[in-house]
C-alpha cells in the first residue's frame, strides 16, 4: 500500500504561546495505509501539534502538505473538509441525540433546512458497516451506549465525512481489554482501507502492537522515530524522558505490620457483590481488574461515598459504615479516578485543593488565613515537586501529572494512614508515574497503608506487595505480587480462571 511520498507531511512546525515555546521544530510524516504512533510525555506538545493539524491553532512557522498539496486549514471545519478527522480522548458526542444524528452532526443531508432522515440513516449505517459494527442501532440515543460503542460512533463520524487522515487521541484510556482488541481490529481495517492514521497513546505496549512506526516528541521537538515492532520499549521510554530510566518500579525493603483495614463480605448497591480483604500497616495492596469490575465502587463504599448493602468494614478501632468526613477523621483519604470531575476543584487554587479536607490550623476559631494556607501548600509543592507558578495558581493550568500530585498532596497534608488510590497514574506522563511509584514506596516504608487500584497490571505487579483481582463484582483472594504473573492475573480478571 505504501506510496513514495507521505500522504501527510508536517515540516518544522513551531508554535509559541507568549514566552512558552510549545513546539520548537516538529517534523511528522505519515503515509496512506499506515499507523503512526505519536508518543511523548504530557506537555511534550502532542496536543498542540494535533490542534495545528486540525485547524484549531495556527503554527508560527513551518508548513504542511496533504496529498502533495499545501495544506493550511483556517479552522476545524476547513480541516474536516480536507479530510482530516480527530477522535478526542474525551468523547464529543451529544448524549441526547441518536447514533445516526451524532454521526451526521453538522453535515446532515437536507433540503431547505429539512433533514432527510432516511438518507442520514443510510449514510450513518454505511459508516457503521464500514467499521464492521452494523450491530450498533442507529436510532438509539448515544447516552445509552457503552463507552466502547460511543467511541465507534465517534470514529464513524470521522468516516462519514470521508476522512483520509484520522487522529486517535488516547483512544483506549477508558476501554476494557476486550474493547481495546476490537478497536485494534477496527484500526487495522481502516489502515487496510488506505487511511493515514495518527495514534496517540501513553500505553507503549499498545503502540508496539498497533502501529507501524512511532514518532517521539519531547519538549516540543521530534526527538526520534523508528519501526514500532523492532524497537525495544526501553529505547522508546528513554527517548521520551530524555534519560535512562533505571528503576521504573522502585521497591525498598518493607515490612508489613498489623491489620489496619479489614473488609468482610462487603456488598454495595450494585458493586461490589462480594469483597473481603485485609490491609496491613506498611503494605501496598493492589486491586486489579477490568473496567466495570467494581474496583472504584469498592473504594467508594469503603470511603463512604457509595452506600453499603451488607458487610463489615473495620478501620483501626472504628467499625461500621461512615461518611467521607468520618473517614478523613479516622485517618483515611482517597484519590478519585476522575481527576477533572471529582478529584480536584479545577477553578480553585493549588493551596485550596491541597488543604480542602482539613482547613484547621490556619487561624483561630474557624478562620482561614490565606498566608498560612499558602505556607502549608508550599511545603507540599516543594516536597512533591509540583510544577506550578505558586500556591495561588488555579489547578486547571497545571499538567495532568502535576494535577495528580496535588490530589495526592491532599492526603499527605491531611496526614492520613490509609491511602485509597483509584487509578493514580491514569493519563499522566512517564516521569510523573515514576515519582508516584516512588512516593507509594516511601509511604509504605513509613508504615502507611495503600490500596492501589489500577487497570495497568505491570505497575501493580511492580509496586504492590500483594495483588487481588476483581472480576464482575467479586474480589478474589489477594496473592503476593511476586507469585503472580500478568497472564494469570488477566485470566482471573476476565473470568477465564
Amino acid at each position: 500500500m505504501k506510496q513514495l511520498a507521505p500522504y501527510l507531511e508536517m515540516q518544522d512546525i513551531r508554535k509559541s504561546f507568549g514566552a512558552t515555546r510549545a513546539l520548537d521544530g516538529v517534523d511528522l510524516s505519515v503515509f496512506a495505509g499506515e499507523v503512526l504512533a505519536l508518543v511523548g510525555e504530557n506537555g511534550a506538545g502532542k496536543s498542540t501539534l494535533m490542534k495545528i493539524l486540525s485547524g484549531v491553532l495556527h503554527s508560527d512557522a513551518g508548513g504542511m502538505m496533504l496529498d502533495g498539496k499545501p495544506y493550511t486549514p483556517r479552522n476545524p471545519h476547513d480541516a474536516r473538509l480536507a479530510g482530516v478527522a480527530m477522535v478526542y480522548q474525551e468523547l464529543s458526542l451529544a448524549a441526547h441525540l441518536s447514533v445516526a444524528e451524532n454521526i451526521m452532526l453538522g453535515m446532515e443531508p437536507a433540503h431547505f433546512g429539512v433533514v432527510n432522515r432516511s438518507e442520514a440513516r443510510r449514510l450513518a449505517l454505511g459508516a457503521l458497516a464500514q467499521l464492521g459494527h452494523p450491530d450498533i442501532p442507529p436510532n438509539v440515543p448515544v447516552g445509552r451506549l457503552s463507552v466502547a460503542e460511543r467511541q465507534i460512533v465517534e470514529i464513524g463520524r470521522a468516516l462519514a465525512i470521508g476522512c483520509s487522515v484520522l487522529v486517535l487521541d488516547e483512544p483506549t484510556s477508558s476501554l476494557a481489554a476486550a474493547d481495546i482488541e476490537r478497536l485494534f481490529v477496527l484500526v487495522r481495517r481502516l489502515r487496510g482501507q488506505g487511511k493515514a492514521i495518527i495514534y496517540i497513546s501513553h500505553f507503549l505496549e499498545e503502540v508496539k502492537e498497533i502501529s507501524d512506526r512511532f514518532l517521539v516528541l519531547r519538549d516540543g521537538r521530534s526527538v526520534g522515530e523508528g519501526k514500532s515492532k523492532s524497537t525495544p520499549l526501553k529505547r522508546v521510554v528513554t527517548l521520551m524522558v530524555g534519560r535512562e530510566v533505571t528503576d521504573f518500579y522502585p521497591r525498598s525493603r518493607r515490612k508489613s505490620g498489623e491489620v489496619i483495614l479489614g473488609v468482610n463480605d462487603l456488598t454495595g448497591l450494585t458493586r461490589p457483590i462480594e469483597a473481603s480483604f485485609e490491609l496491613h500497616r506498611g503494605e501496598v495492596l493492589g486491586i486489579a481488574g477490568l473496567m466495570g469490575a467494581g474496583r472504584s465502587e469498592l473504594l467508594r463504599t469503603i470511603f463512604g461515598l457509595d452506600p453499603i448493602r451488607r458487610g463489615e468494614i473495620k478501620l483501626g478501632v472504628y467499625s461500621g459504615p461512615a461518611s467521607p468526613l468520618h473517614r478523613w477523621m479516622q485517618g483515611m483519604g482517597m484519590v478519585s479516578e476522575d481527576r477533572k470531575n471529582e478529584g480536584l476543584a479545577m477553578g480553585l487554587s493549588v493551596a485550596d485543593n491541597v488543604t480542602l479536607s482539613r482547613l484547621t490550623g490556619f487561624g483561630p476559631a474557624g478562620t482561614v488565613f490565606p498566608r498560612r494556607q499558602n505556607q502549608s501548600a508550599s511545603t507540599w509543592i516543594d516536597k512533591m515537586q509540583i510544577k506550578c507558578q505558586g500556591p495561588r495558581q488555579p489547578v486547571v493550568y497545571l499538567s495532568g501529572g502535576n494535577q495528580q500530585k496535588v490530589a495526592i498532596a491532599r492526603l499527605l497534608h491531611h496526614d492520613v494512614d490509609v491511602f485509597l488510590l483509584d487509578e493514580p497514574t491514569k493519563g499522566i506522563d512517564v516521569g510523573s508515574k515514576v515519582e508516584i511509584y516512588r512516593l507509594i514506596d516511601e509511604l509504605a516504608k513509613r508504615g502507611k497503608s495503600v490500596l492501589f487500584v489500577s487497570s495497568y497490571l505491570p505497575e501493580l505487579l511492580g509496586v504492590c506487595d500483594r495483588v487481588a483481582v476483581m472480576s464482575r463484582g467479586q474480589l478474589h483472594h489477594a496473592r503476593p505480587a511476586k507469585s503472580l504473573n500478568e497472564s494469570e492475573a488477566m485470566m482471573e480478571a476476565t473470568g477465564a480462571l
Binding site: 461515598l305 461518611s323 485543593n353 480542602l356 487561624g363
Partner: protein, 315 residues
C-alpha cells in the same frame, strides 16, 4: 494578573460611567447630595446582592429574593402594629428570611430540586404569603426610628457621613467578604460551588453547606427588606417586584460566574452602584426610562463579555 483584572474590572466600569455623567452634567450629577442619594438608592439592592453573592458563588441561584423583600416589609409592619419594639421587629423580619431560606435549602438538598426551580416556586409562594399576611393591602406602621435608616442626613447628622442604612450595607459587605475568603465555612461554600463532587470527596457536608447558603441568601434579602421598609415606611406586599433580577445583575456585573466558584462581594456592590449611577445619571440627563433599561442591559452584556474574553485569553 487574572486576579488583578477581576478586582479592578468592575471598579473601572464604575469610574467610567461616573466620569461620563460628571462630564455630561457637571452641575447636578457629581454633587455631594447626589452621591449620597445614589448610595441610598443602592442600599436595598446592594444588601440583597451580598446574600446573592454567597448563593451564586456556591453554584446556586435565588429567584425568590424580590418576594422575600416584600414578605419582610409586611412582617415588620405587622410586628410593629402589635407593639413590638423596632429592633425586635427588624430581627423578626430577618428571622422570617432565615426560615424561608431553610425551606429553600430543604427543597434543594432534600427534594433535590434545581435551585432555579425551587426558588422559582418560592418566588411565587412568598409573594402570595406576603399578600395573604397583608390582606392584599399596604400595612401602615407606627413611626419609629426604623423609618430613618435611609433618610437623607440632616445638618446635625452630617458627622455620620452617610445614612445608617448605607453603613449597614458597607459593614456587612466587609463581613461577608471576610466570611467567604477567610473562614472554613466560607471556603467550603466556594469549594461546593467550584466542584460539588470534590467537596464531597473532601468530607465537606454539601447538604449542610447549601442549607446555610440559602439561609444566608434569604436572610440578606430580608435585611434588604428592612431597608426597603425604612424607605417605604409601610409594609407593602407588592414591593420589590423584579428586584431579584436587579440583584442578580449586580452580582453578575461584579464578576461572579453563574457556574459557581467565582465571585466577590466588593464586585457585587460595585455592580449595584453601576446600575444606580446609570439610572440616576440618565434621570439627570432627562433620558426616558426605556433608555436606562436598554443601557443597563448593555452593561450586563459588556461586563460578562469582557469577563469571558479575559477567561479565554487565560487559556
Amino acid at each position: 494578573m487574572k486576579d488583578w483584572g477581576r478586582k479592578v474590572g468592575p471598579l473601572t466600569g464604575l469610574v467610567i460611567v461616573f466620569a461620563l455623567f460628571s462630564l455630561l452634567r457637571p452641575d447636578s450629577f457629581p454633587t455631594a447630595g447626589n452621591i449620597e442619594l445614589m448610595l441610598l438608592q443602592t442600599a436595598v439592592v446592594g444588601t440583597g446582592a451580598l446574600g446573592m453573592t454567597i448563593v451564586i458563588v456556591s453554584g446556586g441561584i435565588d429567584l425568590s429574593v424580590g418576594s422575600m423583600v416584600a414578605l419582610s416589609t409586611v412582617t415588620i409592619a405587622l410586628l410593629l402594629n402589635i407593639g413590638v419594639s423596632p429592633l425586635a421587629a427588624a430581627v423578626g423580619g430577618v428571622a422570617a428570611g432565615a426560615v424561608c431560606g431553610s425551606l429553600i435549602g430543604f427543597l434543594v438538598t432534600r427534594l433535590r430540586l434545581a435551585p432555579f426551580i425551587g426558588t422559582l416556586a418560592m418566588w411565587g409562594a412568598l409573594r402570595g404569603a406576603a399578600k395573604g399576611l397583608a390582606n392584599e393591602q399596604v400595612i401602615v406602621a407606627p413611626n419609629t426610628w426604623l423609618n430613618n435608616l435611609l433618610n437623607v442626613l440632616t445638618d446635625d447628622q452630617k458627622w455620620m457621613i452617610v445614612p445608617p442604612g448605607v453603613w449597614l450595607m458597607l459593614i456587612l459587605a466587609c463581613i461577608v467578604g471576610a466570611f467567604l475568603n477567610y473562614t472554613r465555612l466560607g471556603r467550603h461554600i466556594v469549594a461546593v460551588g467550584s466542584n460539588e463532587q470534590t467537596a464531597r470527596l473532601c468530607g465537606i457536608s454539601v447538604e449542610r453547606t447549601k442549607l446555610v447558603v440559602y439561609m444566608l441568601g434569604s436572610g440578606f434579602a430580608a435585611l434588604a427588606g428592612v431597608l426597603q421598609f425604612s424607605y417605604l415606611t409601610v409594609g407593602d406586599p407588592t414591593t420589590g417586584t423584579g428586584m431579584e433580577l436587579d440583584i442578580i445583575a449586580a452580582v453578575v456585573i461584579g464578576g461572579a460566574s453563574l457556574a459557581g466558584g467565582e465571585g466577590r462581594v466588593l464586585g457585587s456592590l460595585v455592580g449595584a452602584l453601576i446600575m444606580t449611577v446609570v439610572a440616576n445619571g440618565s434621570t439627570k440627563m432627562e433620558l426616558p426610562n426605556w433608555v436606562q433599561e436598554i443601557v443597563t442591559g448593555g452593561i450586563i452584556i459588556a461586563a460578562v463579555a469582557l469577563d469571558r474574553y479575559r477567561h479565554r485569553r487565560m487559556e
